[in-house]
């Protein structure tokens, strides 16, 4: 999960990475109480990049201009998202701009330090200048100096830049982060450093042991959370007319692929997870099936729902019972689209009998279930335009 720039800079400040005096702006009138002297930069706090090019960053010289600019930025969508807060920050005269990052390298399975003398907007056009140091054993500051040298730094910049890298590394480890990035790290004419923009990606799986981070991010809903530490059931919305409920990421991907291949259009999906989630052991799967179906059916325009469940310690009958219970508890005025169910495991016949009584077909073959689903979805239903694609979540029972 990504942090917003102002949250990242709070963490930078805590570990001693130099950041400019700044102030969080929740509404334009906050600028009347600004404690930073003008000129000031106002920055839209959104999770996407490239805000500068579309007007999400503005320089202002006085309170009147600042309030006007803030109003404009609050009403400026960036890749479809409106900011909930802005960051007001002092100006800095950068002579040069570096790029620094610390993250995990999948291939070596180690933390990796990244750096370039070509930071800021130049980083993509100078990818060949990006240097990398793998932290293969216990970190020590010499790894950071190694990167500084590879970046071509000399003299006192070696120590000052590697001190920033060291702090970024310690932040990564202490807070269980996936990424700590400073871009640009500004260097002024006196070779002093300043983190002008920063990005932090929290490791979602580790959030449960990082109460301070959890508190930090609780304020502002974040769409990038991929792993539910509390095993909540998570709906992903797409644009189509087929609801999908699956067990496990691999099977979910495969199911979506096969629907897509057969020209079906999934409207959304819920992945109930594999067999090895401690927070939601198999014995709560029935409850989770109900929660998943409840989320899926909140999307409008569904023509059919495909349930594809395999593995786990739950029997087919138990899954079927959960589906039956979900349908039984619906209010009379609510219309649920037809279901196609694919189950593998014990008590299959009993599951089939139970659901057959509710006119729900049960298959053992994934291909057959896909074919039936596509058949039911084939009468196209127009999806409500402007429908939000944001994620809905339900906490687990």
């Amino acid at each position: 999960m990504d942090l917003l720039e102002y949250q990242a800079k709070e963490l930078f400040n805590q570990v001693g990475i130099p950041v400019l005096p700044s102030q969080r702006i929740d509404r334009p009138t906050d600028l009347k109480g600004l404690r930073i002297p003008f000129p000031v930069v106002l920055k839209s706090q959104v999770y996407t990049g490239a805000r500068g090019k579309v007007g999400g960053v503005r320089f202002v010289e006085n309170t009147i201009d600042a309030i006007a600019a803030a109003q404009a930025i609050f009403h400026l969508p960036i890749l479809g998202k409106y900011p909930k807060v802005l960051l007001a920050e002092a100006k800095y005269n950068a002579d040069r701009e570096f790029y620094l990052a610390v993250t995990l390298d999948n291939a070596t399975r180690r933390p990796v330090l990244l750096g370039s003398q070509y930071g800021g907007v130049d980083v993509e056009s100078h990818l060949d200048q990006m240097r990398q140091v793998v932290v293969d054993q216990t970190f020590s500051p010499f790894y950071a100096r190694r990167l500084a040298l590879m970046m071509g730094l000399q003299g006192k910049l070696i120590s000052s830049v590697s001190a920033v890298i060291e702090k970024m590394y310690r932040l990564l480890v202490e807070r269980d982060l996936d990424l700590v990035e400073i871009n640009p790290l500004a260097v002024n004419v006196n070779e002093e450093l300043m983190a002008l923009d920063g990005k932090i990606t929290v490791n979602d799986a580790a959030l449960g042991r990082q109460p301070a981070l959890t508190a930090l991010v609780a304020a502002i809903p974040n769409p990038t959370l991929t792993y539910m530490p509390n095993c909540g059931v998570h709906l992903v919305e797409l644009e189509g007319n087929i609801g999908v409920l699956c067990s496990g990421a691999g099977l979910t991907m495969s199911t979506l692929d096969l629907l897509h291949k057969a020209k079906g259009r999934p409207a959304n999906f819920v992945d109930l997870g594999g067999d090895y989630r401690h927070c939601c052991p198999p014995n709560v799967l029935q409850e989770r099936v109900k929660q998943g179906l409840d989320l899926i059916t909140q999307t409008k325009g569904l023509k059919v729902i495909m349930v594809n469940m395999l593995g786990g310690a739950t029997s087919c009958l138990q899954t079927a019972e959960a589906i039956a219970a979900f349908l039984k508890w619906q209010p009379a005025n609510r219309t649920i689209p037809p279901l196609v169910v694919r189950l593998v495991g014990s008590e299959w016949a009993a599951a089939q009998s139970l659901l057959a009584a509710m006119e729900i077909p049960v298959y053992e073959s994934m291909d057959e279930a896909i074919a039936q689903t596509i058949g039911l979805a084939s009468t196209a239903v127009k999806v409500q335009p402007g429908q939000s694609k944001s994620s809905l979540m339900l906490a687990s029972a």
Binding site: T103, L104, N106, G208, G250, T252, H278
Partner: protein, 299 residues
């Protein structure tokens, strides 16, 4: 690598919920579980298995251990793995989803220093059909035979095994490497293990979008693997950047918005094509491709 029926297995976290659920299934399958460990539960018996408070205490009583299956909650995996390695156990299987990647870095530093094989985490473990079940694989999907399965997924591995089993094609071994960014053993390590395994005649590699492990595997196959390999890839219809729990290279690709074409379905398909590895476009296509490969090998 020795997951044979005569090897000795210890289940760490045997008194945890996942332990009480899966240990009876593993015992029923014939898995040679000789001891369990759950701190505080020493002296108890779970599914006929004696429970100890510490790995070294278990070894003192039951003798040497070849494999530790770790079923503890994700934040306890690091400690259990370090304890097992301190007791000089050479094979670890980590099941839990949600192990923080920096914990895995610590585990893998130690595993490399001690030459320990680590499978997982976020993994269904290993099954040798008809002999040994070390994890969550549903027994009914598998049939003893000669096809090795290596996968990043759990349920999708079951699905592929089921298709092969229904077609009468048995499996020699199936391993889920784990769906996380940082996992213990790689496609390459397991390709080598299966290349050397006498029972395995063909290998099915089950990949997915994200990361670059399929690309690296394809290069390795071209260089070092003589047995036939057939691949299946999941996730090609996903919207770009859609996180899927198996987070793969999402973070890496996000750095500085570097638009590097790694981890996409195209990059993987290209790699397999270059390595002359047939790719099934759905699980139900695998039996035919595998049978063709087996027929070729056997003639």
């Amino acid at each position: 690598m020795s997951f044979a029926a005569e090897s000795h297995v210890l289940v760490y976290g045997i008194a945890e919920p996942l332990g009480s659920l899966y240990v009876p299934k593993m015992v029923a399958y014939g898995t040679p579980i000789v001891a369990g460990v759950s701190p505080g539960y020493g002296g108890q018996v779970v599914a006929g298995i004696p429970v100890f408070d510490l790995v070294e205490q278990a070894i003192e009583t039951v003798g040497s251990i070849d494999t530790v299956l770790i079923l503890v909650p994700p934040y306890e995996v690091l400690d259990a793995a370090l304890e097992a390695m301190a007791a000089e156990i050479g094979q670890l299987i980590l099941i839990a989803e949600g192990v923080p990647p920096l914990d895995m870095v610590q585990i893998l530093r130690e595993a490399e220093a001690t030459e320990t094989l680590v499978v997982g985490p976020n993994s269904p473990g290993v099954i040798v059909p008809g002999e040994v079940l070390l994890g969550t694989h549903p027994a009914e999907c598998y049939l003893p035979g000669s096809v090795g399965l290596i996968s990043r997924s759990g349920t999708l591995t079951y699905e592929v095994a089921l298709e092969l089993t229904r077609a009468g094609i048995g499996q020699s071994i199936a391993v889920g490497l784990g769906g996380d960014r940082i996992v213990g053993s790689s496609f390459q390590q397991w390709l080598q293990i299966l290349e050397e395994d006498d029972r395995t005649e063909a290998i099915v590699l089950i990949g997915e979008i994200g990361g670059e492990s399929e690309e690296m595997a394809a290069r390795y196959i071209a260089e070092a693997i003589d047995k036939p390999v057939i691949a299946y890839l999941a996730g090609y219809s996903l919207p770009k950047g859609q996180p899927m729990g198996h987070v793969g290279a999402v973070v890496t690709a996000k750095i500085a918005g570097l638009g590097v074409d790694v981890g996409t379905i195209d990059s993987k398909l290209t790699a397999f094509k270059q390595a002359k590895i047939p790719v099934a476009d759905r699980p139900s296509k695998l039996p035919k491709l595998v049978q063709q490969a087996l027929d070729k090998v056997r003639t």
